[in-house]
């Protein structure tokens, strides 16, 4: 089951450049939250702070509070353990090129020392079914390399890989920006189904996409969270002038 995410006074830096200023918001469990905003506004940095991926960049620094359910992400837990509870899907599909489809999905478990063959088989199948890829690849999961799939299939493979470790939260950083409309449609449909089990945070450049998949939307600008509300409200009656300018296409 998904858990809520509570963020308070979050600041992030790349070297001396501050990328996030005093971000605070609450994301509801088992809902999708979309983050929109022009390039460089900090939305990707923000979700990378949620699973402590930001700090893997040399010179990067984070301050503030992030709670994943009851868990304080920046206090008393190693980033590695935290990331096992938070799945992440990246902008460009990145299946491990030397691994078969099966091994890609099982990677998170196998590389963490989990090796029970029969249970792995089950988890791999379940994850591929959840990511709507099973029917297309079930005959070749051991034979084919993950890199041999099409872009859209690769992205669903990456989603399956993230789901296999049974996270509570799924972070998606522009998961459809490298995909064609049909694949995008499939992934959006998937996001809809996955909400039942996971809390989803999705960064997107596509405002229609935000409107289609997310109950809540946050608008980022210049490293600040300008507005955060129900998606409907953001797109029909935003409180802030800058949000309105952005969604009506006046800039960005």
């Amino acid at each position: 089951m998904g858990v809520g995410i509570h963020v308070e006074k979050l600041n992030a830096w790349y070297g001396t450049t501050q990328a996030l200023h005093e971000i605070g918001l609450d994301m509801a469990a088992n809902h999708a939250t979309a983050l929109i905003g022009p390039s460089g506004c900090g939305k990707s940095t923000f979700i990378r702070c949620l699973n402590r991926m930001h700090e893997t960049t040399p010179g990067a620094r984070v301050e503030g509070k992030v709670e994943i359910g009851q868990l304080d992400a920046y206090d008393g837990i190693s980033p590695t353990l935290l990331r096992r509870r938070i799945g992440m899907v990246f902008q460009k599909p990145n299946p491990f090129p030397t691994m078969s489809i099966y091994d890609n999905v099982a990677a998170g478990l196998k590389l963490n020392g989990y090796n029970k063959r029969r249970e792995l088989d089950e988890i791999v199948e379940r994850s591929l079914v959840s990511s709507a890829l099973w029917e297309e690849v079930k005959d070749s999961i051991h034979k084919k390399s993950g890199a041999s799939l099409s872009g859209g299939q690769q992205q669903r493979l990456c989603i399956a890989r993230a789901l296999a470790v049974e996270p509570e939260v799924l972070l998606m950083d522009e998961p459809c920006s490298a995909l064609d409309p049909i694949s995008t449609g499939k992934i959006e449909e998937l996001i809809f189904q996955l909400k039942a089990q996971y809390t989803i945070v999705i960064v997107t450049h596509n405002m229609q996409q935000a409107a289609r998949v997310a109950e809540y939307t946050g608008f980022f600008l210049l490293g600040r969270l300008v507005e955060f509300d129900k998606t409907e409200k953001i797109f029909t009656n935003p409180s802030d002038k800058r949000t309105e300018d952005y969604i009506t296409g006046r800039f960005g």
Partner: protein, 295 residues
């Protein structure tokens, strides 16, 4: 191309340009083929000449017997072949893990002053003459053990392997896109595991190429073995005894005054090249079968 030309208004001018372009095209192709031939010619010539000179002296006795005393006809290089295999095994056992380990450090953790120092030192080490490396191994192994040994020879060759392997490993690991590292971190895989199971594995074929380059280079080295392995007319399997090696045996026989030894030197050189090519191909074959359709 032909149909396009028909559609061109200024027919003659177009034809002229196209002729000039085609000439350039042919010239470039010819140039490329010539360079390939020039590069491959010495290799083929050497191998062909070795086969021509050496194949006649390779027989059962050559591959199974130890050398006969000077002046006597017959005997073989079996002990030198075995000695080379032994010394190269020691060198690989020491050099490959150290070289790959250093390469991993340089690529994944060495973006700092220490890394720059190691890079510099390793490049310098790569340029040190092999005879000097032999002296180093003599000083640190032979003098301590009080006699020449296979181990000393292996150490000398390992020192020569390390910088090549380290730098190629580094280059190959740097080619692995960061997206794969992040994908693994995102799954909660610790950094050390990501480095070994994702980064190193993705770069395997490149790393193997570096290892094989280093191996092939030291397999033919003579100078660093002169006062480390030293050579031996008899069988020896002990790590701390003087040991025969093919390059040493070839050297000794080639400068001897006996015709039979000259013939055996040619045969030895042929066996050495076949051993190197065989080892490199075998490793490539095994690695290729072990990895799944890596791009």
């Amino acid at each position: 191309m032909v149909s396009l030309r028909g559609a061109m208004p200024e027919k003659n001018k177009q034809l002229e340009i196209s002729l000039w372009r085609r000439l350039k095209d042919h010239f470039a192709t010819l140039f490329a083929i010539t360079t390939v031939v020039l590069v491959l010619a010495p290799l083929i010539a050497i191998f062909g000449y070795l086969v021509f000179k050496g194949i006649g002296s390779i027989n059962f006795a050559f591959l199974t017997q130890t050398p006969k005393p000077p002046g006597e006809i017959g005997g073989g290089m079996a002990n030198a072949i075995a000695g080379s295999v032994l010394i190269l095994a020691i060198a690989s056992l020491l050099g490959v893990p150290l070289g790959i380990g250093a390469g991993i450090y340089l690529s994944e953790f060495g973006r700092n002053r220490v890394g720059d120092m190691i890079r510099f030192v390793s490049d310098v080490l790569n340029g040190v003459p092999s005879i000097v490396i032999g002296i180093v191994a003599y000083a640190i192994v032979v003098l301590r053990q009080k006699h020449f040994s296979a181990l000393a020879g292996g150490v000398a060759l390992a020192i020569m392997m390390i910088p090549t392997i380290a730098r190629t490993t580094e280059e190959m690991l740097l080619l692995v896109p960061n997206a794969y590292r992040e994908a693994a971190y995102g799954l909660g895989v610790p950094r050390w595991r990501t480095t070994l199971s994702i980064v190193l594995r993705t770069a395997t074929s490149g790393v193997i190429t570096g290892v094989m380059l280093a191996f092939a280079r030291v397999a033919g080295e003579t100078a660093p073995l002169l006062f480390t392995a030293f050579g031996n007319q008899f069988w020896n399997w002990k790590l701390d005894e003087p040991t025969a090696a093919l390059p040493l045996q070839i050297f000794t026989y080639a400068i001897s005054p006996y015709d039979d030894w000259h013939r055996q030197a040619w045969a030895g050189a042929l066996v050495l090249i076949v051993l190197i090519v065989g080892a490199v191909s075998a490793v490539r074959f095994v690695v290729r079968r072990g990895t799944l359709g890596a791009a």
